[in-house]
Amino acid sequence: MEVFSGLLQGFQVALTASNLTLCVVGVVLGTVIGVMPGLGPSATIAMLLPLTFKLEPTGAMIMLAGIYYGAKYGGSTTSILLNVPGESSSVVTCIDGYQMARKGRAGAALGMAAIASFIAGTFGVVALMLVAPPLAQMSLAFSAPEYFALMVLGLTMVVLLAGESLTKAVLAMLVGLWIAGMGTDLFTATSRFTFGRLELLGGIDFIIVAIGVFAIGEVIGNMELEKPAQMIPVPKGLRNLLPTWDDMKRCRFAFLNGSVVGFLIGVLPGAGATIASFLSYGIEKGVSRHPEEFGHGAIEGVAAPEGANNAETGGALVPLLTLGIPGSGTTAILLAALVLWGFKPGPLFIQDSPQLFWGLVASMYIGNVLLLVLNLPLVAVFAQLLKVPSYAMYPLILGISIVGVYSVSSSMFHLGLLAGFGLLGYAMRKLDYPTAPLVLGLVLGDPMEKALRQSLMMSQGDLSILLRPIPSVLLGIAALLLVVPIFKKFNAVRVQVIDREA
């Protein structure tokens, strides 16, 4: 009942003309910056922070949150159409989304991304509303050993992301892990693999590598083809563009998977949307009845990660609003904003400021509906982009990639890195190395290393700290994931041998 009256109060707050306007402004702005590679929600919110002093805090928070989850909707657009991830949490969407677009199903992929985002985003808000305080307490049980096990579990997904050869996938992943180790080491303040370059002290931003190996590598690879790639037919009419009922049925589990995984990972202060999207993709492929379709345009491969990165928003707000703990860059700015407006984010925040909390929750329901209504018609517009001939398309992709990287780093050195990773992506394509494991290693490498070293610092070097209950279970699943394919292979060989003998 308390939830019901709270929500009612929240809708009264969120549905005032000014707050509704701010919600619309937030989600539209979020979609736009989500579509643009490079510029992310955290930079946008930081830039708008001074403006928000002139607003009433609840309305300002509604707008900033709208940018935060709106960007997750927009992030998939360029991933699907151009193979350029719009946000780091949409990197994994490139894998199947772009393949779908190449098969003329861009509309279905874009539509599914919006629908999955809506379902999981709404799930995230419901969960935030219902289970936030107890879940926040439970998330505190998660510490370094648990994170380490989670990252190991994530890394075993290399088995699932591997194409023909597991060896090649593992090699690519190791390169990713190596790149993740670059920069100033937190624990000893020494520099690793910086080659004396000032610009490498902060490590290499994951989005530069992802844009390089995915987008630039793809463009170089395609330019080489003697015959220009066949023009992709774009069906006419919005109805024919959107996902079919069959697509929806296929994605039933992906919606659930994305919602739950995204939300739970979001609650953990040490993970984040990118890791959530990778994990849900891995789970989706792991349980799928036709895993061979993944990587070649499986629609579940779009629905699961796009759902996960949206459910993550609701999850990430749990520790922020119930414990005063920011788990990511964007929530850290939201926390700073709350302090600047004179609020006191902490364990008593919801109790002290029910109007802001419930107003925010209600606005997120409204915002998700708005985003669905906004994004579905946009599918028709964006899908036309594929009619652009390749001599115009490739320069466009290159331009968007360069602007995206420059807007994050404003440095020529990083554009050089982008070119380097583009060539690496091209070489990997030529030599038939999968690129997704490299990106996976890069995403998980840094948190995994930190978690392991933190665990061992806590236990004074005793490895048994990794055998606490939660890590044991996670590591057990990881081991199983690694062993099963080997067993299958062994079995296949055995069957062959028996056949031959027979």
Binding site: M47, T194, L201, G202, P269, G270, G324, G327, G329, K450
Partner: protein, 326 residues
Amino acid sequence: MQRARNIVAATLAAIAVATALPALAQWTPTKPVEVIVHTGPGGGSDVLARAIVTMMEKEKLVPVRMQVINKPGGNGAVAAAALSEKGNDSHTLGLVTSVWIANALTTAEAKVTVHDLKPIAQLMLEPAVFAVKADSPYKTLKEFVDAAKAKPGALKQSGGSVTSRDNIVRQQLQHATGAKWAYVSFPGGGERLAALLGGHVDIMVIEPQEAGEQVRAGKLRVLAQLSEKRLPGYPDAPTLKEAGFDIQPTPQVRGVVAPPAMPADAAAYWEGRFARLRETPSWKKYVADNQLEEHFLPGEQFRASIQEISKQLREQFVLAGIKVVR
């Protein structure tokens, strides 16, 4: 005679006007000003810079627009290089913290450091408190230190990088008492606090504003504060000296610097603006809301302050076995 006197007076007046002229034609900014910070959007310096920009605008202290430029990477090394490249530009400023001073000591790649830049003004000190979980057995810092002494290495503190203030004060306490406890680095403040609230570590150094809400909710207990005088928000928590530890924690400063060759008139202008800023109600409210310690120093004194902190940090780093490169 009268006329002669008038002529003298007029001449004197003319001379006075002539000498006063340069002062009247004081330098003022003519185009948008960039404020370079070393953190990404949402980091400590970034938020402070955006707050300063807003306050300068609101109090109408600067006639042009100011914008924040993020130059993250290398704990200030990238931002210091960016400021240095501006040479004699009068329309660029930078916000520095103690991190820049520590980084200058440990990072070989940094060709330009905070010492090569022109100090404009020290703005504030950032106080901090030692906190434990509310259900922790340790009621005072002495009890914690004694427990650490009884079981060397068994107790744990969560904090940031090994060169951060959190670790330096731990080193000082360990050195003064002979106790030993572990230090676990976490990249984000949220993770440090989560580790303490989850019972994975035993103690942490935390900002007073952040700790205040946890204390009010009955989640944390503050054992001691790292400032010289008791903070208004913590009238009952002893300072380190009052708690019986004769150590001088290295202050955590925040201040403003400029490109190395900024002309003197422009530097004086900016120093004056920040001196005015601290008199404004907006600034006073900001300092109070965030429980900061106002500590203004003009340019040359800020340079001395940086050098003093650098000296203290070098001693501590050597004691802690951290490699010092310059």
